[in-house]
Symmetry: C5
């Protein structure tokens, strides 16, 4: 009952194309991985030298962590001839996932989601693809790309044999695969609700869990729906930076995105169906309680009235003196009670 993204006003109303990192002197780390089918280099660097950006013998992956270091980002922008809006998009962390083609490069912005204890955290990553370089900008260091690093290092799969477009695919695929892990957790919680919702244990905390899952799903939808248009156009574009062969792979990621959206819709439907079950269960229980009150009250109210009559202090109440009156009244009361019970039973009230 607590997670939704706030737009920070510090990021509104700035000069377009201006870099407006909140802390302009934040520090960043640059990691360089260069490889071809034979060689592999991985090192931390301070400055990106122009030479290996144009060395076509290698695929270079430059991962920049910390997007607050405006100087570095400006330098990268100059080196790669990036559009001012691109630089702005990279540093503005409340971006909607998107994909934009420029003449000499392609930028993809996507959110990495992760479970941070109880709630889902989102971190923006920007990926720039040029002819033989992929540059990734991350807000903070994460481990989502570690499997890719390992795969490059070990030369497993096709990654070492292919170009920068395949590297871009691998990174995007890693991010999207990660979404499935998030959904898996959501579905575990859904199963837990499903087990509890009809049982005696279902209480306000079940309702709270349903509502909090609902908000989680709203949050996930917001992050995953834009991916549809990102990927649906990605694999179809006639863009010389992306190989026809890599297209098959991007289409595969797109299929995964569509599957994610399907799963989210299914979870939404399930949640609203579970809310219905919970609410009608609650109301069923309440009705049961009310019925008991009704039956007991309806039986005893007339009887108490009769007792009240013979408790009156009138001088002349002939019945009072009759020796059989007391048992007769008691039997009369019993008959009334039994008749009522029969009536209620006949009406199927209990």
């Amino acid at each position: 009952m607590r997670r939704f993204s706030r737009i920070k006003s510090s990021e509104i109303g700035h000069t377009p194309g201006d870099l407006h990192g909140v802390e302009k002197n934040g520090e960043s780390e640059i990691e360089l991985i260069r490889y071809n089918s034979d060689n592999y280099i991985r090192k931390k660097i301070k400055i990106i030298s122009e030479e290996f950006l144009h060395d076509k013998n290698y695929v270079s992956w430059i991962n920049i962590t910390g997007i607050r270091d405006v100087e570095v980002i400006k330098k990268v922008g100059k080196l790669l001839d990036l559009h001012p809006l691109t630089l702005e998009d990279i540093t503005n962390t409340r971006q909607r996932p998107k994909k934009e083609e420029f003449e000499n490069y392609l930028i993809t912005i996507i959110d990495i989601l992760s479970y941070n204890g109880d709630y889902i955290q989102s971190e923006q990553v920007s990926l720039i693809l040029t002819e033989n370089v992929v540059i990734t900008f991350q807000e903070a260091e994460g481990d989502d790309f570690d499997p890719i690093r390992r795969r490059i290092e070990e030369g497993k799969g096709q990654i070492r044999k292919r170009g920068s477009d395949y590297l871009l695919y691998s990174l995007l695929d890693a991010v999207v695969d990660n979404y499935f892990k998030i959904l898996e957790k959501t579905e575990e919680q859904l199963e837990e609700i499903d087990r509890n919702v009809v049982s005696e244990k279902a209480g306000p905390e079940t309702l709270e869990l349903i509502q909090s899952l609902k908000q989680e799903i709203i949050f996930l939808r917001k992050n995953i729906w834009p991916l549809n248009s990102v990927f649906s156009s990605l694999y179809r574009i006639d863009f010389n930076l992306i190989n026809k062969e890599t297209d098959y792979y991007l289409r595969d990621v797109y299929d995964h995105v569509v599957q994610l959206m399907d799963e989210i819709e299914v979870i939404r439907d399930m949640l609203s169906s579970m809310l219905d079950v919970y609410l009608s269960n609650k109301s069923n229980k309440m009705n049961e309680v009310m019925k008991v009150l009704t039956i007991i009250a309806t039986i005893f109210i007339p009887l108490t009235f009769i007792a009240g009559i013979y408790g009156m202090n009138f001088q002349y109440m002939p019945e009072l003196d009759n020796q059989l009156a007391y048992p007769a009244v008691m039997i009369f009361m019993l008959i009334i009670a039994v008749l009522q019970l029969i009536y209620f039973r006949w009406k199927k009230w209990f």
Copy 2:
């Protein structure tokens, strides 16, 4: 209240194009059916020999049961020159139904649904069409394709006279026809609910049945909606593997898929309408119960108060000594009760 598909984390985050069967050494069975209008061969084989893959005099149907035997699948991949992603799709059993064209083959992935006692089970089947071969990969042995086998054996219909594309159509048609059987069961349950929902018998178990049908329909929708895009593109594609004449047949299957989607939407609408009926019936009944309480309580509470007054022990209550007081009070009470009854009747409360 129990069925939804979980994404298995064991299938996430692997190297793309890698075969990641959960039990890599699972065993598979290969059945080969070869036929033309004159001849028919059916046998279990161990190895798929390249020769009959290219023998254009026969149509070959290779049915591989058990997709965990990675070695076999790799061999098939090599023999038919399948894309790594295709192999991955075949073994990844949580695939969304899809259709993909490659240069030399067409792959269709679809779910076979079956009622396993109480709930619907889904099994993935992948169908690969090449020039004169159809290869089907099934998770487990099923009997959905038996009518096709019989039809080939007996030479009934056109199947023996036509090519591998007609075989593909026949198999897909069998799967889609099977969905109607599932829907038929669902509609039987719907009719049962329909009979019960207004009757006295409608209790929590009716609600549970409605909710469980709702989840079933959510599950069916998830499996059947993707078929729309699979089949709508299938019969329109300009693909040399599929004969123009077979197009008519595929269009027919597509019509069936559209009809399935129609039926599902109708069932959804019916279910939500029945839930409305159930809930307002419940609440009607509860209201009836409450009204009885109200009427009885409202009649007797004032009477009991009057009895209470004459039960007070004040020394000086002149009425108590009057001989007519007792019958007078009794008559007064009766009048009050009757007036109330008239009022309630006039208000149409009962």
Copy 3:
């Protein structure tokens, strides 16, 4: 609360293209109407002779009633060179409305709806258009086409001067016009609900009527929505069997179909709005009942308590001996009751 179409399993899983009429030896009747602007022939025939199928001087309308007589249908298929799937579509009575073009003919399948006492009945009719012949296949004899027969006989309107495509249009128009009659009945019931729903008379049977209309509308939607795609493509197709002039008429039918869909959506909206009215009326009434209980109980419960106090048998209750105590208590009670009434009035509870 009872009408929805069941898929018959006897019609699932058959050999595609095979004729699987439930009673293969059912009997059919064939009626032939031949006309041009000068002549008119109408007779029952046993066998369709090839000669008048190709006689371009006449327009021939062959109406076949009873689609279970497989032999006749097979013969027609052979005579007109129909596709096996077409024959299957004609005999499979659970077809979705559709339109399909073949090289030499056009088939339109549509449902004739009629009120059978209380509920809507649907009967499938298939219309095949060739150059100068229209063949109609009906499940059972109906009177929907009688106005057309009369119009041909009397030579009213343009029908005798025009070709088979105009005849096809006239028949389709008659079917669609008939839908308006069904909707008219539905709207009459809607008006009846509208009159009752706010009145005192609105009871469970009003709810039942709303729900049953809802199901009727679900049923109608299912039958009418597919017509949209049937007719929207029908008048636009570049099909040499249909005259450009007839296009205007088909566009007119299409407009009627769109209007039907509009009306259905309006009725749906009205129904759900009426359900809202009904439910809040019910709950309003219940609240009124509860309020009376509350007010009476809340007034008398404290008074009864006071009476109870002075009914206690304590030896030393000084008030009891005071001569003014009884009237004083009575006045005190009256004051309490009046104060409560004033409070409730001030709170606008009654």
Copy 4:
């Protein structure tokens, strides 16, 4: 709670293209307005003479009131060479708004809405545009076109300088502008509801007003939505009867239609939000009432029980003889009541 359009069965099932006015001998009035930038003639005529239909020096506007006079309409049809379906559309007053192009003319059918006391009335108007003539067919005399008449007479604006297409635009614009007046009334009622819905005064009549506005909006939607397709295609068509310059004006009307649809959707949303407010207000009030009952009953029921105990007539009840018993019991009762009040307060029940 009363307005929706009934389809009249008298208008169903007729011969297509036949004129089926309900009262064929109804009378019609014909008004002729002819103008160019210099001259202006306005007169009632009996017969439309062919000569001024083709006199290109003037723009002629022929307004025919009363569409039941079949003879006149047939004559007009002959004079202008109208399609039989066009004549049918003009006389069939339950037409959906539409626009149809023929070779020599363009017909637009649209509804004029007006508030007739309490409810919205709809009247159909058909507008036919030929090269230099606009013919309008109205069901009954209305004043919607009066401003246009005045503008022509006074030569205000551009109307006298332009052709018949601009006249058509002016008439359509007048009709659409009129819709805004209807919506304005609806919004006034909406504001009234908005003022009442949270106040004490909100009663069943507020609910009724909400529901009746809802039905009004359903009715308006049904009439205005088809205009979208009418106007969206109108300004884009490559139709020699409509000047490129007039296109700008028609686009402006289209913008108004889109704005109308926006407003209607907003009102729909507002209404359903107000219904929510009303219902939760009602239920809040009811809850308040119930709480008072609960609190009073819960306090006095135990006290009455205690009083009942000491009202029992047992011979041996030692407390009864104790002189302090009466005040002690009274204090005990007080303590119980106070404790309950504290508990309820702590629970925030009041």
Copy 5:
């Protein structure tokens, strides 16, 4: 619970193309800003002279505040050769946001939203782009464009180096950025609701806040949705007034609009989810209250009845004389109470 736009009837039904400002003699202020990379002039002017409209060395921004001064607007119209409909659109302040291209200029109409104390105010601004001039028409003086003025004055960013199309972009970007500020306020309120809705404090004022936010969102949607079509077409148009380079910037604004729509949908979903939480919380609380009544009433009603029995004044009630009767009855009552408590506990009623 109070804001929605009323259509003013004073603006309906006028002569098309006529300027119908409510107060035709309202006064307007004209501010002129002219700049190129070297020079910058800003001054208030009385008359727009034709000369600088065609001086291609400068970009001119003419900001006209107060659109009621019909004379000024007419003069501008003449000077720039604006279409009559454009002039009408500028002065009609209830325009839907839109964009229209004419041969020699482009007009964009958009709403500036601002928080005026408690509710959102909307002010219409029209922007006309010609070759080297941007003219903005504002209803009242606002400060939304101040940052742009400053940026031009200080020569920050690219604005001084680029043409009038970039100026148009900057102004539109400022307006759209401002929407984010509005949404930010809305989200702050949403967070406040989120904090309160489950707590004890949630009362009718929480409900009112939810409903008022809902109406705010309806209002925002109405203003922001049309922007989608405005901007989606703006950056794609093949319009010689807009530079290809500026297209990138307009695409960026479009992305922001899409993000705005996403945020609005998320807030809508959150609000309806919070309403659900609020309502089920309320009903939970009510149920708790009712349960206490039920339990206390159900326990004491039978006990009071027993006490009533022994309060009867029959002559012959043998129990009354038994010395143990009183304690026995008391113990009997206790047992009944305890049994009931155990039963309720077992039923998990408390």
